[in-house]
Amino acid sequence: MTDAKALAVTRWTRVSITAVAALGGLLLVLAFGPAFLGADLTDRLTTLFIYVILAAMWNALAGYGGLVSIGQQAFFGLGAYAAIRLSNAGVEVYLALVLAPLIVGLLSLPLSSFALRLRGGEFAIGMWVFAELAHLLVNLDTLIQGETGTSLIAISGFAPDARRAFNYWLALAVMTVVVAAVFFLLRSRTGAAIQAIRDNEEAAASVGVRVMATKRLIFVLAAVGCAAAGALQLATLITFQPKTYFSVQWTAYMIFMTLVGGLGTFEGPILGAIIFFAVETLFGSSGVWYLIGLGGSALLFSLFLPRGIWGALSSRFGIQLMPVGYRLASPSRARKPGSAG
């Protein structure tokens, strides 16, 4: 028997305090990025930030909400489309890029009460069907001219250097906001509910967790996040061809990043996004073999390392950089890893 008084529940550890401080410092340095990074590196990091957003959102859905969606490209495409529409209506272009994801978020509310009634595989492909439908309907818009697409013309009003820096800051800001949103969500009371749902939905409902409301929160957050990523992609590419935005490829990337990094861990998707970014930089030009490699890795990780690289490391060594869980600490014994993660 362990003496209960000798045990204490803690959230912060020395490692996590150091990690959070280091992360804060890193973000501060990154905020001055355009001043010292150079044009090419600034663009590349903007892309990395977009990947981190996508991975964090897909992980929130699948890793915490138990919702595997093959249709997140719907929100990615709609985010870009909404930005085009707003800008065309005369809204200042960077304001349009910020407002677009919020509008998509509003749209996802009614969709959520429908989609969340689907379970497992039905939800997965149901969302895919929604993405296909959204793609087809956007194609009908005369402004878009079908698959020909259009451009975010207003953004060309900025000088290339200014545009590059603004895109970078916007991507950095959105990434910080969505990752922080997941962080505070997991630390809040809702976080406990989310993890209870992930582990066993029926059991969670039976102890009074509001399953539907909690899942809806995650669903809408993921919609806003993916839409913001789509709007950012538009800001960097300028052109909008529906096919490239509504491609299921985006969801394949999200699945790869989340699975390899660590599904259901906070740090995993960030690691996964960095790995994906590196893999793409090294092998992206090898075309089809690169895609075979991505699909093959997703397959192998889901079979043999379902909690990904980070999940394996953190359960092996008991590390958790971000204090999202609870730890049981006793002064006399070694610290044990928390069950939540």
Binding site: E122, L140, G295, S302
Partner: protein
């Protein structure tokens, strides 16, 4: 005019029922939504195409040669991927089969390139011959054969599950694998056999896809979506519902195509959502109980 479109839609529905058959069977027995379903159908289409081209034989004969290969592939798929996925939770099969689909599509692209192919030139007159329907209009011979094969396959599967020892073993294992083991059923082998049967039906569907239309390495996901829509519209887990679902989908698409160039796909997806919404509304405030009843209480 409209009546003819409905008739063509019903026949198209036969193809959807055929492609949905394996998806529905696998979901009903193994409780897996196989996201590689469409890609496996296209893989079979390529296999049949290669055999038919190399040996200069009819695609129907080539299909007979491909069937045992796909059955073996189904067995392997269950043993290597699905069985392991199911052990680590209900969501893992979705992730692993999606990864598998990406691999299959791109390996096909690597091997065969972006060219579209078709088996239509290999079946001669059958590709375009048709019979006149009394009162105007006509039905394609191939479309009617496809419909007939779909019905035969659905009836065959139903009889197989109800009347044969293996069919009974499959149903028993699907209900409760542990109890099935107690009465001497090797559940691993039974599941693998069910997966083999599912892939045999997928191979047949892939061949008809290749005969009635063109295909390329990335045709798979679209076929998965059509198959899935047919299964859900008809009511998950029921083989007969799959036929009805396919017909509803086919009719909606054909009528949609009369309205707008993209109306074919839009109407198909729209009818899918309308049917789902109607089902949720009819179930009042407890859609979960209805879904559970439809799936036969899989928990």
């Amino acid at each position: 005019m409209w009546l003819d479109q409905v008739l063509q839609g019903v026949l198209l529905g036969g193809y959807y029922a055929l492609i949905a058959c394996g998806l529905s069977f696998m979901f009903g027995i193994l409780r897996i939504v196989n996201l590689a379903h469409g890609s496996i159908a296209v893989l079979s289409a390529y296999l049949v195409w290669v055999v038919a081209e190399q040996l200069k034989i009819s695609p129907f004969l080539a299909l007979i040669a491909v069937l045992p290969v796909m059955a073996a592939a189904g067995w392997l798929l269950q043993r290597t991927v699905l069985e392991r996925s199911l052990r680590s939770g209900a969501l893992t099969p979705l992730l692993s089969t999606f990864g598998l689909a990406v691999v299959i599509d791109n390996v096909l692209f690597q091997r065969f390139g972006a060219d579209t192919r078709s088996l239509a030139p290999d079946i001669g007159d059958l590709a375009f011959n048709s019979w006149d329907v009394p009162g105007g209009g006509s039905v394609g011979q191939l479309a009617l054969i496809t419909f007939g094969v779909a019905v035969a396959l659905l009836v065959g599967l139903q009889l197989f599950l109800n009347r044969t020892p293996l069919g009974r073993a499959i149903r028993a294992t699907s209900e409760d694998p542990d109890t099935a083991e107690l009465v001497g059923i090797d559940s691993r082998n039974v599941y693998a056999a069910a997966s083999a049967i599912a892939l045999v039906t997928v191979a047949i569907a892939g061949t008809f896809l290749a005969m009635r239309a063109t295909f390329d390495p990335y045709t798979g996901p679209t076929q998965l979506i059509f198959a899935f829509e047919a299964v859900v519209i008809g009511g998950t887990g029921s083989l007969w519902g799959t036929l009805i679902g396919g017909i509803v989908l086919g009719v909606a698409q054909n009528l949609g195509s009369q309205i707008n160039g993209q109306g074919f796909l839009i109407a198909g997806h729209a009818v899918f959502f309308v049917v789902l919404a109607a089902r949720f509304l009819m179930a009042g405030r407890s859609p979960r109980t209805l879904l559970r009843a439809l799936r036969g209480a899989s928990a």
